[in-house]
């Protein structure tokens, strides 16, 4: 994240006493940009405090001393979310600052003082994370599409049988909208992660 990108995000920052609120949305595949954003805020003396769901997402910060920190985000599937995972990160010096429930698991926000440390130190494991995310959002998209197709079919069936647009039909149509939104979100995310993976693969092949 360069300076102008950061400035455009924080242009509309609202400050109340010693709290700051920033509205910005990062897509799933932009989790590294989100890390750099939180680091830039910390460098200006704003410690990440809270996250509010919504579009766009709202970040709350608290005024502290400016500090050089490293943020790392990790996505963990529910079944992999074991105590030894958390202990290992703690042993390695990472503080689990926040968690964010997501489809099929959790996002964790890890923070450490100083610069340069990474939780993924080889291409293979970075690639694995993307693969995991691509799979999760692929499933989410398919699920939504399935519900959606069923709803459309039911609505059409009702409309044809009753020869008028029934209340049920309209209700079905309204139900379709949130599912359609999630399906589009998941679909876009999936494609974006896929492109990122292709890029990683290409870079790796070029080096080999």
């Amino acid at each position: 994240m360069n300076k102008s990108q950061f400035e455009s995000i924080t242009k509309k920052m609202k400050i109340k006493e010693n709290h700051a609120f920033v509205k910005v949305s990062f897509w799933v595949h932009q989790y590294e940009e989100e890390e750099r954003f939180l680091e830039a805020m910390a460098a200006q003396g704003w410690r990440f405090e809270k996250l509010y769901k919504g579009v766009p997402t709202k970040y709350e910060f608290v005024k502290v001393e400016p500090k050089e920190v490293t943020y790392q985000l990790d996505y963990v599937k529910t079944k992999e979310d074991t105590s030894d995972y958390h202990q290992l990160f703690l042993d390695a010096g990472w503080t689990e600052e926040r968690q964010w429930p997501a489809f099929g698991g959790h996002w964790y926000y890890f923070v450490k003082e100083g610069k340069g440390d990474r939780i993924y130190t080889d291409n293979e494991s970075r690639y694995e994370l993307s693969k995991k995310l691509c799979g999760i959002y692929g499933i989410l998209m398919l699920l939504c599409m399935l519900i959606e197709l069923n709803a459309v079919r039911s609505a059409l069936g009702l409309a044809i049988n009753h020869n008028v647009v029934s209340i049920c039909g309209i209700l079905f149509m309204i139900c379709i909208i949130p599912f359609l939104a999630v399906a589009i979100f998941a679909g876009y995310t999936c494609v974006a992660i896929f492109l990122k993976m292709r890029d990683m693969k290409r870079k790796r092949d070029n080096r080999a």
Partner: protein, 107 residues
Amino acid sequence: MSKKVVAMSETAFYILLSLTTERHGYGIMQHVESMTESRIKLGAGTIYGTLGKMEKNGLVKSTKEEDKRKYYVITEEGRDALEYEVSRLRELYENGMKIISKGECKK
């Protein structure tokens, strides 16, 4: 070894090498760092993911859990893979040295 043989990554090689002694994740991290004189610092996510995959592939097995830390040790199959990798590296090294020591590499 019936599995498809590919060059082992540096990460996988050093994790396997560390697990010739029973260790937990952070223990591996420290051991690799001291073995390579800080050249390789494995990330927590990388260690966690690689151990999970290796366990699934039967290269390592978990032995116990103490204070939320899971301990691992190399299996017979893991040792085979490690030995194969060392002999592959030896071949690379020896072939490389043949050329370099003759000075054919110099411009």
